[in-house]
Amino acid sequence: MKILVVAEQRQGKWNNTSFETLAAAQQIAKDTSSTVSGLVIGKGVSSLAEELAAKNMAEVLLVEHDLLEAYTPDGYCVALKQVVESAKPDLILFPHTYQVRDFAPKLAAQLGKGMIGDCIGYRNESGKLIFVRQMFQGKTNADVTFQSAAPWFASFQAGAFRSDLVAAHPSGKAPVHAVAVTLDARQVRTKPLDLFKEAKSAVDLTQAPLIVAIGRGIKAPENIPQAEAVAKALGGEIAASRPICDEGWLPMERQIGSSGQTVAPKLYLALGISGAIQHVVGMKGARTIVAVNKDQNAPIFEIADYGIVADIFEVMPALTEALEKAKNS
């Protein structure tokens, strides 16, 4: 089997989850006696291709065109379809980034194929690859298989594989092959404009050693002071999962998760957070995770060191009191 890893860069900088996907590809290759190739797409990105070639792979495909300088879903789909048709990989792997979500399913569909996105792992069952992904907001896992002939498309979630396990090329460097693609400006229908960040947030949660985070379980904005009291007793910062910030109950800068901040504090206390994967990717690096949730099957308990299965409205005042007491003793 030929595996092709489509690495992601923006403005000449890697998206590091590309290397996690490369680690996945190398592992699948080992398991299935396959070869791995890499692909870099853009304009003026040959130095990135050279960098990728230092990893253990058969070759690096370099896809460059003036119209590929800035990412567009149309440009990427038109170009990559040609590459897939000429290079004929069996399995095409992507990091599951916002950019990949934006074009890869369409690329697969243009070839009449499906994509298994957002995988957290795989199994090789006597030659048949089974991809594992989450469903129901992380409450269940699912085994998913391809039903049609190759090429197959799949993406791996951030954190699913370890980028530090990527093997270097055994004899120095893999060859870099430029692949020419034809692309017409009329085929690119959307026009990317400025890239920007919103006004810098006042709180930097990434630097906070102790974080108390609330989720849907808080139910109403008037209940937030109870969680803030816990944070105050702990001497920590208050944070939240996305729905709380979507509702405007806490400012967006307090949001933890894939679209918010990624934190790795000493202590992360999750109150009424179910543990949807979009949240978990932003906090799973915490040293100690405590979860309080009335649903004992909440996925947050999968990653918690300590858990209390109870109503947060009963636990919050008790916890504030216990923390105050510990502080004064």
């Binding site: 697969a108 994509m115 890239l195 729905p243 990653i303 923390l323």
Partner: protein, 254 residues
């Protein structure tokens, strides 16, 4: 501006899930509008209020999805299309998008909106696949829409706090990021008005499409734990006291 909003009905957020093979037991649980789609519906209603036109709610699934369709009509959608399919839960993303695209192609529209992903399967592919199948420009994870002279100026969310403005011609398909707006509730007046609104029912057969599956969910299961959680029991007060002790003397984080 005529807008089609794709809305999925999913198991209610707090529904207890009983696994049955590659899906769940549907009896005894409640269903609701997929939350990300409610943001897409709200955005469609706001665009209509600003620019005129009509909002069409499009939903695929068994008879039960009519309840969610009625909710969309009560909130302000003008009419609805129900693609009736009892095998809905077994469709792969491309199959579902093939049905939806066949129904969309029969309508006159300027914009198709979807939510970011569904809270059940969570593939997050529908909008992008529709754009591919209908051959339209698209953009995903949209945080703001500004219509100007037959074009859209969009704010797209990227990772790690970055955003990008995008210009997109019409017609187009957009996947809306949750939190783009504040979703309205249906009013009593809206609920009464909805009773008179049209729900057209079509079937995969009448649409004339029969997509072949490209992938299959073999089974679903509760994941095995990778970390051992120590559960603290007792009254809330006892559990809280135990937790503070553990944090102080065992984890040593406070």
């Amino acid at each position: 501006m005529n807008i089609i909003v794709c809305i999925k009905q999913v198991p209610a957020k707090d529904a207890p899930l009983t696994i049955a093979g590659n899906w769940i037991k549907e009896s005894d649980i409640g269903f609701e509008m997929n939350e990300p789609d409610s943001y897409a519906l709200e955005e469609a209603l706001r665009l209509k209020e600003k620019h005129g036109g009509e909002v069409i709610a499009l939903s695929l699934g068994p008879e039960r999805v009519k309840q969610t369709i009625k909710e969309a009509l009560a909130k302000g959608a003008d009419r609805a299309i129900h693609i009736a399919d009892d095998n809905f839960a077994q469709l792969d993303p491309l199959g579902a998008a093939t049905y939806l695209s066949a129904a969309i192609k029969k309508e006159k529209f300027d914009l198709v909106l979807t939510g970011l992903q569904s809270d059940d399967h969570g593939f997050g592919q529908t909008g992008v696949l529709l754009a591919g199948l209908i051959d339209l420009p698209h953009a995903t994870i949209i945080m703001a829409i500004e219509a100007q002279e037959g074009k859209l100026r969009l704010k797209r969310e990227l990772e790690a706090g970055w955003f990008q403005h995008i210009e997109c011609p019409l017609p187009a398909v957009l996947s809306i990021q949750s939190g783009i707006n504040k979703v309205r509730y249906a009013t009593l007046k809206g609920i009464i008005a909805a009773k008179k609104k049209e729900i057209a029912t079509v079937t995969p057969e009448s649409l004339g499409v029969s997509p072949q599956p490209t992938q299959r969910v073999e089974k679903i299961y509760i994941p095995t734990k990778t970390k051992k959680t120590e559960f603290l029991t007792g009254t809330p007060k006892e559990a809280a006291t135990k937790l503070v002790e553990k944090l102080k003397f065992e984890a040593r984080v406070i």
